[in-house]
């Protein structure tokens, strides 16, 4: 297994996870893309060894074609996911004119009910709900 691919996977996972934790939907969409590619690289890097392309007629040691087939499917699915998240972000922007994920209504009601420490819970709550 190639060490540089392993490092790349780690970087993509870290960057993707960081972006997913943002409140802005565009960044979340970017996170979905980055994380998805991290997973794809991981499958290829971990699943197959570097060798000749697996085509009928080639001689010598061939690489395992299965991870490539799996990654192909994963790429298609990742593409669909990414476009759905983008559509969601667009819709959210047309409705609210901003890009942020709002707090849940019921959660806000419960937070308000707790009036004694309203301010501090509210702040804590904002962090709790971030996806």
């Amino acid at each position: 297994m190639s060490f540089s691919l392993l490092i790349l996977t780690g970087v993509l996972f870290a960057a993707g996870s960081y972006l997913l934790m943002e409140r802005s939907l565009t960044r979340i969409a970017l996170g979905v893309g980055v994380l998805g590619n991290g997973v794809n690289v991981l499958i290829v890097a971990a699943g197959s060894s570097p060798a000749e392309a697996p085509i009928i007629g080639r001689v010598g040691e061939l690489t395992d074609p299965l991870p490539q087939a799996l990654v192909l499917t994963a790429i298609v699915i990742g593409f669909a996911l990414l476009s759905f998240v983008l559509a969601l972000a667009w819709r959210n922007w047309t409705i609210t004119e901003n890009d942020e994920v709002e707090d849940d209504v019921e959660d806000r009601l419960i937070t308000r009910r707790d009036s004694s420490s309203a301010k501090s819970t509210d702040e804590r709550h904002r962090e709790d709900v971030s996806p």
Binding site: I28, L88, N92, I95, D104
Partner: protein, 491 residues
Amino acid sequence: MTTLLSLVVLLPLIGAATALVFRPRPVQRTLSFVTLGTSLVAATSVLVDAWSNDAMHVVRMGGWPGSFAITFVADRLASVMVVIALTVTLLVLVYSVGQKSAGERSAFYHPVYMVMSAGISQAFLAGDLFNLFVAFEILLMASYVLLTLEGSDAQIRAGTTYVVLNVIESMVLVTAVGLIFAATGTVSMAELPARLAALPDGTRIGLQLLLLVAFGIKAAVFPLFFWLPDSYPTAPSSVSAVFAGLLTKVGVYCLIRTQTLLFPGELNDLIVVVGALTMALGVLGAISHTDMKRILSFHIVSQIGYMVFGLGIGGTAAIAATIFYLIHHIPVKTSLFLVEGIIERDSGSSSFDAVSGLARRSPAFAAMFLVPALSLAGLPPLSGFLAKFAIVRAGVDSEQWVAVAVALAVSLLTLVSMTKIWVGAFWGDVEPAASVGVGILRRHALMSMATALVVVLSLAIAVGAGPLYDFANKAAEQILDVAGYVTAVKS
């Protein structure tokens, strides 16, 4: 028989494609009913065969050998799950036609609904991990669309939480599948048991934890359940009924599969603890809310805890109890959401600050809520009592005293919060006052009929509990027999 099995997944997909081409609503509706109905007939004939026979039905797509093919495996558990799932989706389809929500009027509702049904069936039948991942993606993608179809503010907000959480789940799942492939060189569930057993302990537990987290998010177990009560209540009632009844159960089903087939008997203590915490936190959330959909959503979480607890106990009796619980819970939960949907449609709100006196308006309608509500709380002679009793007995036999105590307390609290809905919405003066003397059942005839049929299904489970429990026992024996599964699928 093998053709029938692939039809269960293929028909709804073909139906969905056709419905996208022919957009008029009557055509789409007919297509939905015909394809899902035919799939149900096909699935039922597979189940009838599985009920009496020991043989498993295995389909390899395209006739590829061994672990190269996309494999569908229908053992007892899988076939009964497919039949229950299709029955419920079909009845909810009737309901959604009656509901006339903005979602159902969209040209995409019926195609997407069929795609979701195909995804659910495929997840139950999947014979390899990657195929399972694809099935998850199919049903998740369809569920994203169904959840946000009306495109309202609340739906988009809740949809975002749901989508992002499930994207994370998908990533964890596909990472797990990739790493399992890297470690063992296969994704076929028939090859995996032997190869996983040969791995070092640390690697195996790491892979198992990844799968548990992925399916745990889907099943909404502690501490991964917080997305569920947030997102389900915003969907149209018909959609949240299917989500509540089926989608989380797909997660539980996959947990059962991985725990019995791939990692038999490992990390069971952890699963018992997770199950107990899920039960307790779910029901506490339910008690704190005053909106019916919220309460019911938290109850999904709490009920999942029972199944996870049963799974954690292990052994034939406990697994049989879990399977019985799984079967019983689908119609019960679905019917509660359907009843709630009728209330919401009738009075425009699902908060019982705004609704009351329903029992005086229509005793028959009240009964449609009371039966599944009491069944959920586990009162005899309903199916919920039998399911809870079986789980608790298995817990007592294996001396899991703390978890058993939690299970009993949670069942009491479930009754408390169901009583809260009953007192809030069904007793008291009729409100809104304008609706005095108007029959609920007649006004929403189609919705009520579909709901009544789901309630009857749950009553039928109570009446036929004897044979069904025997079947659950046999299904448990079958899934615990790993060697039997491996030979059946490989040959």
